[in-house]
Amino acid sequence: MSQSYNRGLIEDFGRWREFSAGMWAWVFHKFTGWVLVGYLFTHIAVLSTALQSPEAYTTTIQSLESLLVVRILEVGLLSVAVFHILNGVRLLFIDLGVGLESQDKSFYASLVLTGAIAIASVPTFLAGVFG
């Protein structure tokens, strides 16, 4: 047996341009999942200010909501959550063996829907921040 050459992992994320729909769905699902886990911690941190006093919670929320960055992050959070939900439903159908032939189309559909919902949410999330 000759000594063989290990090409390592170069051919994985280095060739993201060639990823198929199913692969992107997997990458996005992982990514949004971790973002949601991260958000959970900040969510708990903000909510737990209510343990000190109701006023502390109100002032924290008010100061956070007055920041433009927070408003933009909220739009991001919504789109991340929406994508995770829609792709989760898609995966549910895949697990049930329904519509495996159109798995790429359902991925694109969930992307488009996510985009539409994110855009539609912009007026709500950014209301009053410039006022």
């Binding site: 000759s2 000594q3 063989s4 050459y5 290990n6 090409r7 992992l9 051919e11 994985d12 060739r15 060639e18 198929s20 729909a21 199913g22 692969m23 769905a25 997997w26 995966l91 895949i94 697990d95 049930l96 063996g97 495996l100 798995q103 790429d104």
Partner: protein
């Protein structure tokens, strides 16, 4: 003009000598014939070259690596320009390159009709069966590499040992406890059951799916799509009986069995025999859950 002067003197001298005249004449004729033949030859090669330049050529970039030769230990890409003919496959082009340009170019191939499964390679960023891939479907330069996630032995040849180990781990052969009465009696399968396993029987063990699978790349113990598909072929075979099905599911539902699959559909996309691999893995997942959730 000046170049013809010695010729002329030669002619004169040979003409003056009457005896040697026929011999000189012959020699001259011989020379003339030779020159004509040479001219013809160069004209032909020129024409052939011109024809080659006129005919479409395909530019191949082929991965080269040979650990046994000092100068080839460092992996590199070699360029080959192969004349194209209609219906030419990637394998045809590789064979032309090997036969015409570099006989040390190494790759596996056998039947050339997508049955033996020896020539799965990484062509233009995708696992393909070379004998089944038309050059005209590919963008130039056609980049040919050995299958990813398998160790390269030489050039385009990868070590398939691990793949075969995984295939054998699922006991890829028919086994049953309920044998028919007579010794020579056939074990008949219903038409519906045959339809169910039909696609899974098409596997040619080329290893393209295993190579494309992101999970198999990270988890060396994962059975991989091909092995699970093979297990599907026998698990779903009704002739094997209930206890054998249970035995097969026990192999499949282990930690590195069906549950590693994360439905990226990479294997289904690259399978040269169009086997719905993900569908089969998902069905086995459901079978595994069902057999564990039996309350009766």
């Amino acid at each position: 003009m000046s170049t013809q002067v010695p010729d002329q003197t030669d002619d004169e001298s040979s003409a003056s000598e009457a005896e040697t005249a026929p011999a000189a004449q012959q020699r001259r004729m011989e020379k003339k014939r030779q020159r004509a033949a040479e001219a013809e030859e160069t004209r032909q090669t020129e024409e052939a070259e011109a024809a080659l330049a006129e005919t479409e050529t395909y530019h191949l970039k082929v991965f080269r690596y040979d650990p046994e030769i000092e100068g080839k230990k460092e992996p590199r890409f070699d360029d080959f320009h192969v004349p194209y003919h209609k219906g030419m496959t990637v394998l045809d082009a590789l064979m032309y390159a090997r036969d015409t340009y570099d006989s040390s170019l190494t790759f596996r191939h056998s039947c050339r009709q997508a049955i033996c499964g020896s020539d799965a390679m990484f062509v233009n960023g995708r696992q393909r069966l070379c004998c089944k891939t038309q050059l005209s479907d590919l963008e130039e330069p056609v980049r040919i590499e050995p299958l990813p996630h398998q160790e390269v032995v030489k050039d385009l040849v990868v070590d398939m040992e691990h793949f075969y180990d995984q295939m054998e781990a699922v006991e890829p052969y028919f086994q049953t406890n309920d044998l028919p009465e007579g010794e020579l009696e056939e074990q008949r399968q219903s038409r519906e059951n045959r339809e169910k396993v039909k696609m899974s029987t098409r596997c040619i063990w080329c290893g393209a799916c295993m190579s494309s699978c992101n999970i198999a790349a990270g988890d060396n113990q994962y059975l991989g799509p091909a092995a699970i598909n093979k297990a599907y072929r026998f698990t779903m075979d009704e002739r094997e009986g209930e206890d054998m099905k249970q035995h097969r599911l026990e192999i499949l539902e282990q930690e590195h069995g069906v549950w590693r699959c994360q439905t990226q559909f990479s294997c289904t996309n690259v399978c040269p025999k169009d086997i719905p691999l993900t569908e089969h893995i998902q069905e086995l997942k459901r079978e595994a859950v069902k057999s564990n959730l039996k309350f009766w």
